[in-house]
């Protein structure tokens, strides 16, 4: 086992990896940009090294700075987390060239899966169905226009190096194509330092279902079942579940087998996720992409299977065999995760950076909160605005939702806006409760929401609650006034006293 691991990331995922290191008695090394001096992940580490200024291309994406920190600290391995350099094969190569272990798959596997076009080719070769679309990147707007006309609208533009909805645009008609193409290219360039874009036919009302796989360096490949991530906003997942509400054992077996075929095809090592689109109408699934890293939503799989995926990543990278085989993977109950973002749901989900002046995390049976911030911390404008992942487990989906509802109501964040109020409405939405999910869920949810007089689960605006709010404000005001006058009074007095003494003094000589 390694003695020291450097975590080339920040926020909640750095905290998560640090906890796995602690469990394995491995010393965790943090890195931080100037914006993150004093951040939670730094406070939790044994060692920490500054790697540059706030913008991520000068710090968390700065390969030289990371390798130099690793060398200084004596770390033997680097865990990339997700995002940043997690799927950057050049980084993995540089780590290996420096004589360190990259905790993830081989750069070759990353290369294939890192480009969505070559990933599609690999899937086709492995005999796994794919969504109709290009396997080549689009060189120009004109190429995009031609290809789109060939498949017919609607189409999807996607960043070849992409993930997390960045550089992704849905296009309903030709008139929208040019601005979508430019936006996708520029976002892709900013997020992944790679502006390559490709195009797919849009599958209508698909579920987004992904399979967690795990492989070791001894040729063992297993799957840990599916996660349903259909609830997306701007192509970013916001709620994930394990298992899918479909909860179909034979479908899980089919998709699991397909995912393993792809893992075998690229001699995969470590944790990986194969994403599929699933159509309720046809019960068919299509390979979408493979994420060659830990997923944000890995906790729901951990809660249901009992397997610690981050711990397993580390032991597998150290050369150990998988600590379980396929027959030992059991799915118990149901888990759901909400990604809590510093965004204002009442204002079109605009980021809401600032200081967290109050933080009450939920607790109790079945609740797990993977947070990246503490009370008093600053949510900066430089990084992804996710501040925590709230995950719950229950014996059934219904119990999980009941616990999620309770946990969301307990959760309180002051000083910034968060997506918590949005989740509080979703968990009370009849379509969500029924498990009728697809990637268009949020759009339809917003329509239902606007049709209601006031949010579900909340008192109407003119309730006694509003009077109570006014009373609390008035109380705070009255007490503040009393404190001010209490402080003023003696000061006033002493000023007069001083003045009197001074006046006497000044008169005496005169």
């Amino acid at each position: 086992m390694f003695r020291k691991i450097l975590i080339a990331n920040r926020g909640e995922i750095a905290a998560r990896v640090i906890r796995a290191c602690r469990d394995l008695r491995v010393a965790p090394v943090a890195v931080f940009s100037t914006a993150d001096a004093g951040a939670l992940h730094v406070r939790m580490a044994d060692d920490a090294y500054a790697i540059g200024p706030a913008p991520s291309n000068q710090s968390y994406l700065n390969i030289d700075a990371l390798l130099s920190a690793a060398k200084q600290s004596g770390a033997e391995a680097i865990h990339p987390g997700y995002g940043f350099l997690a799927e950057n094969a050049e980084f993995a190569r540089a780590v290996n060239a420096a004589g360190l272990t990259f905790i993830g798959p081989s750069p070759e596997a990353m290369d294939i899966m890192g480009s969505k076009t070559s990933a599609r080719r690999a899937a086709i070769e492995a005999g796994v169905p794919v969504v109709p679309g290009t396997t080549e990147t689009l060189q120009s707007y004109e190429a995009a226009r031609e290809t789109a006309n060939k498949f017919g609208y609607p189409v999807m533009l996607k960043a070849a190096a992409g993930g997390g909805g960045k550089g992704m645009r849905q296009v309903a008609q030709e008139g929208e194509l040019r601005s979508a193409f430019e936006a996708a290219q520029s976002e892709a360039a900013a997020a992944f330092a790679n502006a390559e874009i490709y195009l797919e036919k849009l599958v209508e009302r698909p579920r987004h279902i992904e399979i967690q796989i795990f492989s070791d360096s001894h040729g063992n490949h297993v799957h840990l079942g599916e996660r349903e991530c259909s609830i997306q906003r701007r192509h970013q997942k916001v709620i994930e579940e394990c298992p899918s509400p479909i909860n179909d054992l034979s479908l899980r077996e089919r998709m699991g087998a397909a995912a393993i075929k792809i893992a075998q095809k690229v001699n995969y090592i470590g944790a990986g996720t194969v994403e599929f689109l699933f159509s309720d109408a046809t019960r068919e699934f299509y390979f979408l992409e493979m994420n060659t890293r830990l997923q944000v939503e890995h906790p729901v799989t951990e809660l249901v299977t009992g397997i610690d995926l981050v711990r397993e990543q580390i032991t597998v990278a150290a050369g150990d065999r998988l600590s379980f085989d396929q027959s030992e993977v059991h799915w118990r109950g149901h888990a759901i995760e909400c990604r809590v973002y510093a965004e204002d749901p009442a204002n079109n989900f605009l980021p809401s950076p600032g200081q967290i002046t109050f933080l009450r995390r939920p607790a109790g049976p079945g609740v797990r909160d993977d947070g990246g911030v503490s009370e008093g911390d600053e949510v900066s404008i430089y990084y992804d605005p996710m501040i925590s992942k709230l995950a719950v487990w229950g014996r059934s989906r219904a119990e999980a939702i009941e616990r999620l509802t309770r946990a969301l109501d307990e959760y309180a964040v002051g000083g910034i806006e968060t997506t918590l109020p949005f989740f509080r409405e979703i968990v009370r939405d009849e379509e969500f409760l029924a498990g009728h999910l697809d990637t268009g869920f949020i759009a339809r949810f917003n329509e239902r929401r606007e049709a209601r007089p006031h949010p579900v689960g909340e008192a109407p605006a003119s309730s006694p609650q509003q009077d109570i709010a006014s009373i609390a404000a008035a109380l705070a005001y009255a007490r503040a006034q009393r404190r001010v006058s209490a402080n003023d009074a003696p000061a006033q007095q002493s000023r007069w006293k001083v003045a009197g003494r001074m006046a006497r003094l000044s008169r005496e000589p005169g």
């Binding site: 404008i381 009077d467 109570i468 709010a469 609390a472 005001y477 503040a480």
Partner: protein, 168 residues
């Protein structure tokens, strides 16, 4: 103490009286008798007729300033006015003109501007794109009109609240 409270468009008169942890309040003729427990950091536990209200007052409570109060999971923005402090207060009435301002909702960087001064725009047309936290946000025109002013250039760093463009 008598105060005026405004929540959204609803205005009311509040009178409160405190005596050793008990509070009597009257709002527009509705009477409340409450047990109050202050927990520091703006926490106020109010119990009215057995009913529990966990409240948190964010920031400092000043007259004429917006106060954020969370009751349970619900947040209210309240503006209190203390009539004793009204001497120099001016009502912050809306500007009377017809122009729509495109305001930066948070700090970020302008990455693209799709219009020029004088461009005729429809409601929903993109005006400019601001990037923050790695997400590009297209700022759209809220109305039909003409671009009256563009206060920023591509690449400019903007703060939350900055007026980026004005549509006439």
């Amino acid at each position: 103490m008598k105060l005026e409270a405004v929540i959204g468009e609803h205005q009311s008169e509040i009178e409160i009286r405190e005596d050793s942890g008990r509070v009597w309040a009257e709002i527009d003729g509705r009477h409340y008798e409450l047990d109050v427990h202050e927990s520091g950091a703006g926490g106020y536990l109010l119990i009215s007729d057995g009913q529990v209200f966990e409240c948190r007052v964010e920031g400092r409570a000043e007259s004429g300033k917006q106060i954020e109060v969370v009751v349970g999971t619900r947040r209210y923005s309240i503006t209190l006015t203390d009539p004793r402090k009204l001497k120099s207060a001016t009502s912050a009435s809306a500007h009377g003109d017809n122009a729509a301002r495109i305001v930066a909702p948070m700090p970020g960087k302008v990455v693209r501007i799709m219009v020029e001064v004088g461009t005729e725009v429809a409601a929903g047309d993109g005006i400019l794109v601001v990037e923050a936290m790695k997400m590009q946000n297209e700022m759209k025109s809220p109305k039909v009109g003409k671009v009256l002013a563009l206060n920023v250039e591509p690449g400019a760093t903007v703060n939350g609240g900055d007026v980026l463009a004005v549509i006439e």
